[in-house]
């Protein structure tokens, strides 16, 4: 019933031992064949019987990406009742990422949130009783994905995309106004002009794609936020974890004005740590922004590290922080264990049922215990990473590829000597694809743009 084929990562996007990528749809087996070279000589998955397991390599052209195990399930005997292929690969995010992208470049679309389950239902795989929960999953995942795509995009990236969209719709509206009111607006040698502009735009897109590869578009890993009063030792903790001087550490309260982000690997688990400005009421505007951001980060975090200066009694500001982080996954850290503590672990635990540890960020004491605790919490399933963050990222990238492809169509049309009316719709497709990255809806943008820019009509 669905014409297209979708793929998504089925396992959590952390550097665990194994990662599973699932492909579903009519073209799933052929698509897998396009990127996988089986060890069995001259055999493709299409030739193999259903419900068999195969060994082979994912290939990007001539180079090997990963050594994989492939599970083949032909329709209707699969979860979605469609042709399904599962690729078990090595669990590094980089590898999973590359395989997924290879698939996306080979005619597969990144799955929408909850789409596998949706297909399973629509194809009659799941019974009626489960229908409502399917809707809840889709809604929850959609809400998250939407939030994630907006939240996670760094301001500068969404700015770049807005900018590209602006350029595209401005070209399209010029073309359309000339088509609609040819006695008023004419296009002369426009193809050549557009070609030059698109060349620049394509370069920009390429740059953005490369940035994405380096993980600049989205930060992956367990979103960990460090919070605490000014000068409680948050930055020192980040430095201890990261093993280098990263945040500016002074004894003056309020030094860390902006959030500082860091990817930290702990025994194969990636933490994406954000050090926030000290949370306290402030009139300083720069610092105020930092505080607001911190509140935002807390809401989207997987794990909160709450740093308390154990050498002083709890401050009224601590009460505010506690209220703020209530309900999140929290590890309370009694810092400055090197000084004489006035707050004890028992006292802290009494307060909330948080895991509480004593550390000295400055001297690196207790850091190992912290690492172990995080690892245990994660492996024990207490902290779960939202895969949607990663999937959102993959989808965003896929949309970027889509936009690029549309612009390449335009370039080809200009080369072929086609008139503008043939490619303005491709310009608009690129515009729409970019819009999906930042969660913009299309509506009547083009018509509105035409009317706002061009004086049309009788």
């Amino acid at each position: 019933m669905y014409s297209d084929t979708i793929a998504a990562v089925a396992t959590a996007m952390t550097n665990s031992g194994i990662g599973i990528i699932r492909i579903s749809g009519e073209d799933a087996i052929c698509a897998a064949d396009r990127v996988i070279c089986l060890k069995e000589k001259n055999t493709t998955l299409s030739d193999c019987p259903t419900h068999t397991i195969h060994y082979g390599f994912v290939m990007d052209g001539a180079s090997v990406v990963d050594e994989v195990i492939v599970l083949l399930m032909k329709a209707p005997r699969s979860y979605t009742r469609e042709n399904t292929v599962e690729i078990d690969c090595h669990g590094g995010t980089l590898v999973i990422n590359r395989i997924l992208e290879l698939l996306l470049k080979n005619g597969v679309r990144a799955a929408e949130p909850g789409e596998f389950t949706k297909r399973a239902f629509l194809n009659g795989r799941i019974d009626l009783a489960q229908a409502e929960s399917v809707i809840d999953i889709i809604n929850a995942k959609n809400d998250f994905a939407l939030k994630a795509s907006v939240d996670q995009l760094r301001g500068s990236v969404s700015g770049v995309i807005e900018d590209m969209r602006e350029k595209l719709i401005s070209e399209a509206s010029l073309i359309e106004s000339a088509i609609d009111d040819p006695e008023h607006y004419q296009l002369e040698d426009y193809g050549e002009v557009l070609q030059e502009r698109l060349k620049l735009l394509l370069e920009e897109m390429e740059q953005l794609l490369q940035n994405t590869e380096r993980g600049l578009l989205l930060k992956e890993g367990i979103r960990t936020v460090i919070v605490g009063r000014p000068n409680s030792g948050k930055s020192s903790l980040l430095n201890s974890l990261a093993g280098k001087e990263r945040a500016i550490v002074t004894d003056v309260a309020g030094t860390t004005r902006d959030a500082i982000e860091e990817q930290i690997r702990l025994h194969g688990i990636t933490l994406h740590v954000i050090d926030t400005a000290g949370i306290r009421p402030t009139d300083d505007i720069v610092e105020k922004i930092g505080v607001d951001k911190a509140k935002e980060y807390i809401e989207t975090s997987d794990l909160v590290l709450y740093v308390v200066d154990a050498s002083r009694p709890l401050h009224s500001e601590d009460e505010e922080i506690i209220a703020l982080i209530n309900g999140r996954n929290v590890i309370a850290l009694l810092n400055k264990s090197d000084l004489k503590p006035v707050i004890t672990e028992e006292e802290m635990k009494k307060n909330k049922n948080w895991t509480t540890l004593s550390v000295s960020a400055k001297y690196g004491e207790g850091i190992e215990a912290l690492e172990q605790t995080i690892e245990e919490m994660f492996l024990g399933g207490e902290i779960s990473v939202n895969d949607e963050v990663f999937l959102t990222n993959a989808r965003q990238k896929a949309f970027l590829y889509e936009a690029k492809e549309s612009l390449q169509f335009v370039m080809q049309s200009i080369l072929d000597g086609m008139t503008e009316d043939f490619y303005s719709s491709d310009l608009m497709h690129a515009y729409e694809s970019l819009g999906k990255i930042i969660g913009a809806s299309v509506e009547d943008d083009l018509v509105n743009e035409i009317f706002s820019k061009f004086c049309m009509g009788k």
């Binding site: 229908a131 809707i135 809840d136 809604n139 359309e176 609609d180 040819p182 009316d421 719709s425």
Partner: protein
């Protein structure tokens, strides 16, 4: 109160471009029809611009014609200049536009109506609709005129144009009339409101008409019609329309014009707040243009004849609601109009129309069974937009009486489909004008293939003759056969081929190639390659044209067909009429409100409602599946 009581199958209210098509369609489909007009002398009257067609509107006229409507035939009989616009661009955006002799256009249409069997024309103002209560609304049983006469009917079509509670404004001068001083219709709105119909107030305007004898054309650029004229109607013989044409003239406004306008803005009802209605962005008044595009030094002004037997010239580009004295001074600043004498003032007109979201895609009111609505009453603007809605409403009134499925064209079938879908689905806050950019599948919705796209539908509903339909089938077959033949023709790099290529500055061949490849070269086409295509059969021009387009743009057309296939998938998923969206678990509140208001007929239509997200569509799909399972 005693009065006339008569019985008809179909009542049509209004004899403008929508009403004429609606009435003709109903009568032609075999139903006794009565057409009401406020003024018998104003049938198919063109109160604004003196032309038919233009970009995307030309497409509409072609589609009307392919379905068996009248507009194309009528303009072919009465045009005085014709032009194919966008000829330098791709075939999808070629658009025909003809200057009409307004009086002749009106008279020809009146003749056609008068000669139509089963059609009665009656001058009277309809003051209300007569209904019966039924479950979830009403059923139409007739209409009533101001005099108290009652006309019973099985279906009625409202095509009231800009006449409902109309008000014309020229500066401080306000007259409670319809266009051109014609009587307004002041009662029908209230009757509709009593039936729960939501009313909008829109505004539009028209420029002054100037005495042609007072114009100095030497200061303007002359614009001629095409050398070879293409008729609108597929049934018109091209030889019959090669007439002597009149010219249009181009001139410009200037700083002086703009200064006068700016200095008098406070006297413009548009800016003084006297006008409540929303105007179209497409046809801004000159004062709107000067304010909104302040940095533009000049605006184009086209001087167009209103007909052969009148001295009046239409001043296109300068519609206005400024006071008479300001108009007088303003027009006289334009080169060539220094001594212009105004025959009729420019004015703005405000009128009542309905929120078209209250209609099904068949143009029937969702809550008033048997009542249809077409044209400017539905919030559109333009003669062509009106005519095509009138035609569809007319046909569907008949389908309603017959108890048959309505004629609904989708967005991939016709511009008419795009127009009606936009009206009934989207939020419409200004008079809606057709534009090529609104048609997402425009590469296949060309004006040249309207007959191939729509004749079957026209024949099925009964408007198109068997003879005409069979010709279209024959044409289709010829196109297909010739394409097949061409696809197997290979050309060697021989002298004859090289010479031909050279004569069109086309790169010579190194090795043999297919004829199709050469046709695709921008500088060549199917006809030009005839000398090297030895086995080519003699074919009519319209067939050759199609073969050329289909080969030349095959890649683009195929890509579009794929998009259409994807579109149709969702369009085919019908939503049950009685669905209560408030009860569907998982829909967002905004989506519930919008869905309950629009009541889309398909998942596809639902997906085009603003405020309905892809996630909501997923929920609807799952809900539909759930229902299906329950029924099993």
């Amino acid at each position: 109160m005693p009065g006339i009581v008569e019985m008809y199958d179909v009542c049509v209210v209004g004899a403008g471009h929508a009403g004429c098509e609606a009435a003709l369609a109903a009568a032609r489909l075999g139903f006794e029809t009565i057409l009401f007009t406020i003024s018998i002398d104003s049938i198919a009257f063109m109160p604004c611009n003196p032309n038919i067609g233009g970009t995307s509107k030309g497409h509409l006229v072609r589609e009307i014609d392919a379905l068996g409507g009248e507009m194309g035939k009528n303009i072919d009989k009465t045009f005085i200049q014709s032009k194919m616009l966008n000829k330098s661009k791709g075939p999808a955006v070629h658009s025909l536009r003809a200057q009409a002799d307004k009086a002749a256009y009106s008279m020809e249409m009146r003749k056609t109506l008068q000669e139509q069997k089963r059609l009665t024309i009656r001058q009277a103002e309809v003051s209300g609709i007569l209904t019966e209560k039924k479950e979830n609304g009403y059923r139409i049983v007739g209409v009533q005129t101001v005099s108290g006469a009652v006309y019973h009917c099985k279906a009625a079509i409202l095509c009231t144009g800009t006449y409902l509670k109309a008000r014309c404004l020229t500066g401080e001068m306000v007259s409670h009339t319809g266009p051109n001083g014609l009587q307004a219709a002041n009662y029908l709105t209230d009757s509709l409101k009593e039936h729960g119909v939501e009313i909008y107030r829109f505004k539009t305007g028209t420029p002054a008409r100037i005495d042609g004898n007072s114009i100095d054309y030497t200061k303007m650029t002359e614009h001629f019609g095409d050398d070879v004229i293409v008729p609108f109607s597929f049934t018109t013989n091209p030889d019959d329309v090669q007439i002597d044409q009149v010219s249009c003239w181009l001139t410009y406004t200037n700083e002086k014009t703009h200064t006068i306008i700016r200095e008098n803005l406070k006297r413009s009802p548009l800016f003084s707040g006297m006008i409540e209605g929303t105007g179209p962005r497409y046809c801004p008044s000159i004062e709107d243009k000067v304010v909104k595009f302040a940095d533009k030094e000049k605006h184009q002004v086209f001087i167009e004849p209103e007909g052969i037997h009148t001295n009046e010239m239409y001043i296109s580009g300068m519609s206005s609601s400024l006071p008479e004295d300001v108009q007088h001074a303003m027009y006289r600043t334009v080169p060539g109009l220094e001594h212009a004498k105004i025959v009729r003032n420019a004015y703005a007109i405000e009128y009542d129309c309905i929120n078209p979201n209250q209609l099904y895609p068949s143009l029937e009111f969702k809550t008033i069974s048997g009542l249809f609505s077409g044209g400017q009453l539905n919030g559109s603007s333009g003669y062509e937009e009106a005519a095509c809605q009138g035609l569809i409403a007319g046909v569907n009134a008949c389908m309603h009486i017959k108890g048959k499925e309505p004629l609904v064209l989708d967005r991939s079938e016709a511009y008419i489909g795009v127009l009606i879908d936009d009206l009934v689905t989207k939020e419409n806050t200004e008079p809606y004008r057709m534009m090529t950019s609104r048609a997402e599948y425009r590469l296949i919705l060309r004006q040249d293939n309207a007959d191939l796209r729509l004749s079957e539908k026209g024949y099925q509903v009964g408007l198109l003759s068997k003879e005409r339909y069979e010709w279209v089938l024959q044409k289709k077959a010829m196109i297909e056969e010739e394409r097949k033949r061409v696809s197997s023709v290979m050309l060697g790099a021989n002298q004859k081929v090289q010479d031909l290529l050279k004569s069109y500055q086309s790169i010579p061949l190194h090795t043999g190639t297919s004829l199709e490849e050469l046709i695709r070269r921008p500088e060549l086409n199917y006809d030009l390659l005839a000398p090297v295509d030895a086995d080519r059969p003699p074919l009519p021009k319209e067939v050759r044209e199609q073969v050329n387009i289909l080969i030349k743009y095959e890649g683009y057309i195929n890509r579009q067909m794929k998009q259409v296939a994807e579109f149709e998938r969702l369009e085919k998923k019908k939503l049950p009429e009685e669905l209560n969206y408030s009860e569907i678990h998982g829909l967002r509140i905004e989506a519930v409100q919008k869905l309950n208001r629009v009541r889309p007929v398909s998942i596809g239509q639902a997906s085009r409602i603003s405020g309905v997200s892809p996630a909501d569509i997923s929920v609807l799909l799952i809900y539909l599946e759930q229902r299906k399972n329950l029924k099993r």
